[in-house]
């Protein structure tokens, strides 16, 4: 097309092209903005932040004089059920050098295999290198489920 022939229609043509470009780019940009926004606003499957209370097991899953290892956040935890049926839970991180402790039903104690550290079933350090008791968790039984949460204070 010869530019000098009809400058007005040229300008109109340019204007239409630019409008189209602007409109198209605007829509594309808005799309790239609104897509993440929409995904963000849609609630995720787990509707709320994991509360600090963890459902660890059903009461029937843990027989007396046995224990269950679980994960509390990133750290290991140990849920104990005594011979009498009482539940207690502790951080399973040994207070000596951070090994993971285990329940010894034969000795009725919590034991650390690394250096023979021993804790009684209240978490108190009773023999070996551990300098402090295990950090206790709060245990709540509700509707046949065992819930573990951090102790207040």
């Amino acid at each position: 097309m010869d530019r000098s022939v009809n400058p007005d229609s040229d300008r109109n043509g340019r204007r239409k092209f630019l409008s189209l470009l602007l409109g198209g780019a605007l829509i594309g940009w808005l799309g790239s903005l609104l897509y993440p926004l929409a995904r963000y606003l849609i609630p995720p499957e787990i509707p709320e932040a994991k509360p600090t209370t963890l459902k660890v097991a059903k009461v029937d899953e843990v027989s007396p004089n046995s224990a269950l290892m679980f994960r509390y956040g990133r750290k290991p935890g140990i849920l104990i059920r005594t011979q009498e049926g009482k539940f207690s839970a502790f951080s399973a991180v040994c207070t000596h050098l951070d090994c993971t402790v285990q329940f010894r039903s034969d000795w009725g104690i919590i034991w650390c295999a690394c250096h023979n550290g021993r804790y009684d079933l209240t978490g108190r350090n009773i023999a070996g290198p551990p300098p402090r008791p295990l950090t206790p968790f709060e245990v709540n039984i509700k509707d046949g489920e065992v819930y573990v949460s951090e102790r207040e204070g």
């Binding site: 940009w29 993440p36 926004l37 995904r39 963000y40 606003l41 849609i42 995720p44 499957e45 787990i46 709320e48 932040a49 994991k50 509360p51 600090t52």
Partner: protein
């Protein structure tokens, strides 16, 4: 069949009948922006405002999932970062935009200083601008605590300790800020209230004033430009020319935010532990570093005063003088350049830059 143009025209007409928009449009059409060597600095006020709008927007989005509280702040933020779709993006944009906004504000402030745009009749624009800077720093300081991670906890502790060192008002102020003697969940609640309610309200009011002043008085011209004959002054219409350029710049800023968020995502760190000792090399956000580093350099005791106190009072006095610059610059009042002030300005800029760098190297 809806013709978009006539629909818009009809809508305009309907509103105009009721609110007299014509007058506003006429005003808008008249608005011009001076074009000269320093014109590029005109954009920085708008960029700061744009970044503030981004902050409000992303802040509200974060607010939909964030739960303040010593037991839930960190966890809810972890949730946003791991479970919420694009939560990482909103969060990183919010953190980066905060920093870029303060940077833009500093540039905006210094460019106005060096072009003496605070000269008569624009003194109050400068003063409200300084108020906005202080509010922005308040936003930064209060927002920083909200993730309730180790870094934030200790930075807040150190920062409020420094406030407490001010004589007479220091301790009551410290208790007011912290919601008690120490930094605890009570501090978190307060800072949250300041950050999402008090500061936004005050900021909006002040920015409204600030922008209103600019609208009523028009853009300031550098002295050299002002002295030119009317026909020699080049201008550009605000609508649409300046606005379109503004839009381009804002889009660039937005893209930069996205790039930063993808390649330099903001860390969450470890949850705050009130009983743990402070990690080594703790320092506040970069825009406080120059003050922090200066305080560290001042010896423990200077004459009869405690070094830290001297430093705080020094900065207080310096800040006050800075706010009063429009009234102190007599030559500026007479529309004259002021080489002494210019020199001081450069010394201050150099001081801030050098101290910030030193704060990171040492």
């Amino acid at each position: 069949m809806a013709n978009p143009e006539s629909l818009l025209t009809r809508l305009y007409g309907w509103l105009n009948e009721r609110f007299g928009i014509d007058a506003a449009v006429a005003f808008g059409k008249k608005k011009v922006v001076p074009v000269h060597r320093e014109s590029v600095w005109y954009y920085f006020g708008g960029v700061t405002l744009f970044l503030f709008i981004i902050q409000v927007f992303t802040g509200i989005l974060l607010l939909l999932y964030y739960r303040p509280g010593a037991d839930s702040s960190f966890e809810s933020l972890q949730f946003i970062l791991t479970q919420v779709q694009f939560g990482w993006l909103i969060r990183s944009v919010h953190s980066w935009s905060a920093n870029l906004m303060v940077l833009a504000a500093f540039i905006h402030m210094f460019s106005n200083f060096f072009t003496q745009s605070y000269r008569r009749p624009r003194e109050l624009t400068w003063v409200t601008g300084m108020a906005l800077l202080l509010l922005s720093l308040g936003f930064g300081f209060s927002g920083y605590l909200l993730p309730w991670n180790e870094l934030a906890f200790f930075a807040t502790k150190v920062g409020t300790d420094i406030v407490g060192a001010v004589p007479i008002v220091g301790n009551p102020l410290l208790i007011f800020l912290r919601g008690g003697e120490d930094v605890t969940g009570a501090t978190l609640s307060r800072f949250f209230g300041f950050h999402v309610a008090v500061l936004p309200m005050v900021f909006t009011l002040v920015v409204g004033l600030h922008v209103l002043f600019v609208q009523v008085q028009g853009m300031s011209e550098p002295i050299a430009h002002q002295a030119l004959a009317a026909d020699k002054k080049r201008t550009m219409p605000f609508f649409p020319n300046f606005v379109l350029r503004d839009a381009m710049l804002w889009l660039v800023a937005l893209n930069i935010l996205a790039i930063l968020s993808v390649f330099f995502p903001w860390d969450l760190g470890e949850k705050a532990d009130l009983f743990a000792p402070a990690p080594a090399g703790i320092r506040p956000e970069w825009y406080f570093v120059f003050m922090f580093q200066t305080l560290k350099f001042i010896p423990g005791h200077v004459l009869f005063m405690e070094g830290e106190l001297l430093g705080i009072l020094g900065f207080g006095v310096a800040g006050l003088i800075w706010i009063l610059v429009p009234f102190l610059d007599r030559r500026g009042q007479r529309n004259q350049r002021n080489p002494l002030f210019q020199l001081w300005g450069w010394i201050i800029v150099l001081f801030i830059v050098v101290m910030t760098i030193v704060g990171y190297i040492l």
